[in-house]
Point group: C2
Chain length 147, copies 2
Amino acid sequence: MRYFEDIIERDREKIGQYTLTQDEIIAYSRQWDPHESHIDPVAARHSVFQGLTAAGIHLIAITVRLMVTCPAQMKILAGLGWDEVRFLAPGRPGDTLTLVRECIEKRPSESKPDRGIVINRLELRNQDGVLLVSYMDTILMPRRPDL
Amino acid sequence: MRYFEDIIERDREKIGQYTLTQDEIIAYSRQWDPHESHIDPVAARHSVFQGLTAAGIHLIAITVRLMVTCPAQMKILAGLGWDEVRFLAPGRPGDTLTLVRECIEKRPSESKPDRGIVINRLELRNQDGVLLVSYMDTILMPRRPDL
C-alpha cells in the first residue's frame, strides 16, 4: 500500500485495463443511466454516436474500480472531489480501456500533520489510444506512520 | 420531454428523491469501489467517517439516475463534462437523498443551429438538508424542431 510519501509529482503510470462488453454497458445503464443510447442497440444507431455507447458514469466507475483494485494501491482517507471531468469520445462494446495516472500536485495538509492532499490526472483511453475520459481526482492520503 | 428552449436560466427545481440502503451501498461498491469504508461495516467504524458510507461514484450515479428518470425529462444529445464535483459529507445507510437542479447557464451552439449547451448545478442533500455532493453538469440538448 502506498502512502502520501510514496507519491511523486509528475510520475505517470499505467494503472490497469478493462474490457467493456455490450452486456455490461446495458446492465449498468439500465440501473443508473437508462438513456436509449446506452440500453437500446437499435435506437442507439440514431444517436449522435451512431451506435451503443457506455454511459459516462459507467466509464468513471471503471476508473474508480481500476484505481481501488490496482496492485500498488494508494491508501485513501477520503475522496475530496473531481475537476474538469470531460467525456471526449464514446466507449463502445468490445473496447479495451487503459487507465493512466499522473500526479499533478501534492501537498501536506495545513491543519493535520498525519495526512496530505494529492491531485491525480486520470486518463482513460481505448485500444486505439483515443482519449475517452479525463479528469482531476483530488484525494486525502495518510502520511506513513513513524515506525 | 424538454428541449433547449424549455430550460430557463436560474430556474431551480427538485428533480427527485432516492433512499440509500446498506445492501445497495455494499453491492454497488463491491463492484465499483471496493474500499473497506464502503463494503465492510465493522472496518468502516475506524474510517474518518466512523461508519459505512456510500462511495462517491455511487452518489453521482444516483444523481444521474434521478436526472434521466425524472418526470419532466430533459432531452440529451450528449453529456460533455462535469466540473467542481465535491464530496462534502458522507451518504449513510437509510439516508433519503434529494436532488435539486439549477440552470447556471445556457447558450446556443455556435457551429450547429439544431442544438445548445446547458450547464446545470446539481445538489444532492440528505433528509437533514446537509449537502453531500454538488457539481456542474454540462450537457448538449437539441433545440425544439420546427413544426
